[in-house]
């Protein structure tokens, strides 16, 4: 089953993987991390990538970030072949990796210290314009009172909010999220879905979210891609058309549950395939 949403066809894609494949090692000992995969993400789209663990989701993310070069095929981001130097990307992982010696405000400001064109203005603006920008962002996620706190003074959920702010502060055109809410408890996670949704609705970055939480994918994404087990490839691609803003209550409604179940079956099939191959 393959449903491609309309938007991907018209506008030039923000991200395009064309027949991109990744393998490690040489000849006999080659490990294929990703089979030839094609994926187009339109500008402003929110794509979730789900699949069994070890299927190459993170490989796709590292390809898109320019941290990894494809062995075959091409990866085009913002109209250019990727290399980490030229991009303006925001990234957030499951581990918030805040620097313990900086306040939350300074942590969130870190990309401005590194990314062009902000880095040349960092000294002049770090106590003015940049601080206001960081404060506004922190206010959006409800952390404005914690700007001058150190990371260890915050809870896991708060750190993850700060992590999202750090990924967005330099106004990236592409946001890459690798299971950012994976380590949080159920309620904090649902709370952060709401935060993420409102951040996205306000700023409309292109997002590629990697997750193994199907409910999370359905709540946040405008499109869900399902990957097969290793070596991965995309086996299903479908639009999610629930109205926004979505609420946690909606995740208990019939359509949402039906979507969840369909995705679940796809992944279970993908898993059992490898189980047979492995046997």
């Amino acid at each position: 089953m393959l449903t491609v949403s309309q938007s991907t066809k018209s506008a030039p894609p923000a991200v395009e993987l064309s027949q991109a494949a990744v393998s490690f090692g040489r000849q006999e000992s080659t490990v294929v991390a990703l089979q030839e995969t094609s994926l187009r993400i339109a500008d402003g789209e929110f794509v979730a990538l789900v699949g069994p663990s070890g299927c190459g989701k993170s490989t796709i993310m590292r390809l898109t970030a320019g941290l990894l070069q494809p062995t075959k095929g091409a990866v085009i981001v913002g109209g250019r072949e990727v290399s980490a130097k030229a991009l303006r990307i925001g990234m957030a992982f499951q581990n918030p990796t805040m620097l313990p010696w900086l306040t939350i405000e300074r942590n969130v400001m870190l990309p401005l210290k590194i990314v062009k064109p902000f880095r040349s203005e960092y000294r002049a603006k770090k106590n003015g314009e940049f601080r206001d920008r960081v404060r506004a962002l922190l206010a959006d996620v409800g952390l404005d009172k914690f700007a001058n706190h150190y990371p260890w003074q915050l809870s896991g959920g708060m750190l993850q909010r700060a992590n999202l702010c750090r990924a967005l502060v330099h106004e990236p055109s592409l946001l890459l999220l690798d299971e950012p809410f994976g380590a949080l408890d159920q309620f904090t996670r649902e709370e952060l879905w709401g935060t993420m949704q409102s951040l996205w609705m306000k700023r409309r970055p292109t997002v590629l979210l990697i997750t193994h939480d199907l409910k999370e994918a359905g709540f946040l994404a405008s499109r869900i891609c399902v990957m097969s087990a290793r070596p991965g490839r995309i086996i299903d691609d479908s639009a999610v058309n629930f109205l926004r803003p979505r609420t946690v209550e909606m995740t208990f409604e019939h359509d949402f549950v039906a979507l969840n179940q369909r995705l679940r079956e796809l992944i279970i099939d993908a898993r059992s395939e490898t189980a047979i191959q492995g046997a």
Partner: protein, 257 residues
């Protein structure tokens, strides 16, 4: 009484008890001051001879500090060089461990052979004693940077230098200061060691000549001075450490600052 007050009280009490017991045992067992002088005798000697001892104290302190500063420079450079690259780390480690396992007493005669007796061998021995813990700590601090954080920074277009400056070096600071406290006491051991072997100045030399004159209280006075200087330097670096790397120990007063 607060925890801090109690801690100080008991630390002081332990020191007083130590010297008290020493004094009492010497008196009770009638130990000759040629074997083990009483603390009161040592303090009397210390006060009595202090003007004569001052130039020696300055000499020891001077050679220690010069050796220590050079050791820090050498240690940081080598540590940073082998910490940023896995290959350099694996390549250089066996040689460094081999070097650090050599008893430094054994190299003093070589330094004397090359540079004559005096300040230079003392400085070099201090350097040789103190740079290794710094190398290890800097290298470890740099080598243990979280890979996710490096990915985040690389995807922002950060250069190796950016990552080193913004992440590598700051996160190495607690390791660095921990090593400084050890290194400064090692530097002390080095310079005194060299003075006892080949020098006509410094506390090490005073102790050597005093023991050959059977002036045992003066030998112990030398030991007391060394202990005091060692504690003073350790405290100085601890103070700098808490100011610079309070974040690592999650100090509330660091946050307020």
């Amino acid at each position: 009484m607060s925890y801090e007050m109690r801690r100080r009280f008991w630390a002081t009490a332990l020191i007083v008890a130590f010297f008290g017991l020493w004094e009492i045992l010497c008196l009770a067992l009638q130990v000759s001051d040629l074997v083990l002088p009483r603390p009161s005798q040592v303090f009397a000697t210390l006060v009595d001879r202090f003007p004569v001892l001052v130039p020696h104290i300055i000499q020891t302190l001077w050679t220690t500090m010069v050796g220590f500063v050079l050791g820090v420079v050498v240690g940081v450079v080598i540590g940073a060089a082998i910490g940023v690259s896995r290959t350099a780390y694996d390549t250089a480690y066996p040689l460094l461990i081999g070097f650090s396992s050599i008893p430094k007493v054994a190299v003093v005669p070589i330094f004397v052979l090359w540079f004559g007796s005096g300040s230079v061998p003392a400085i070099l021995t201090a350097l040789a004693m103190c740079f290794f813990p710094i190398v290890v700590n800097i290298a470890t601090g740099l080598a243990t940077t979280e890979p996710e954080l490096e990915d985040v920074l690389k995807s922002l277009g950060a250069s190796k230098l950016d990552i080193l400056w913004n992440v590598g070096l700051p996160r190495t600071m607690p390791f660095f200061f921990a090593s400084l406290k050890i290194a400064v006491t090692f530097a002390f051991v080095g310079s005194v060691l060299s003075e006892t072997v080949a020098s006509n100045r410094g506390i090490g030399n005073v102790m050597m000549s005093a023991s050959s004159n059977f002036d045992v209280p003066l030998v112990f006075a030398g030991l007391f001075i060394l202990a005091l200087l060692g504690v003073a330097l350790y405290v100085a670096f601890s103070l700098i450490e808490t100011r610079v790397t309070g974040w690592a120990t999650r100090r509330q007063d660091f946050t307020a600052a």
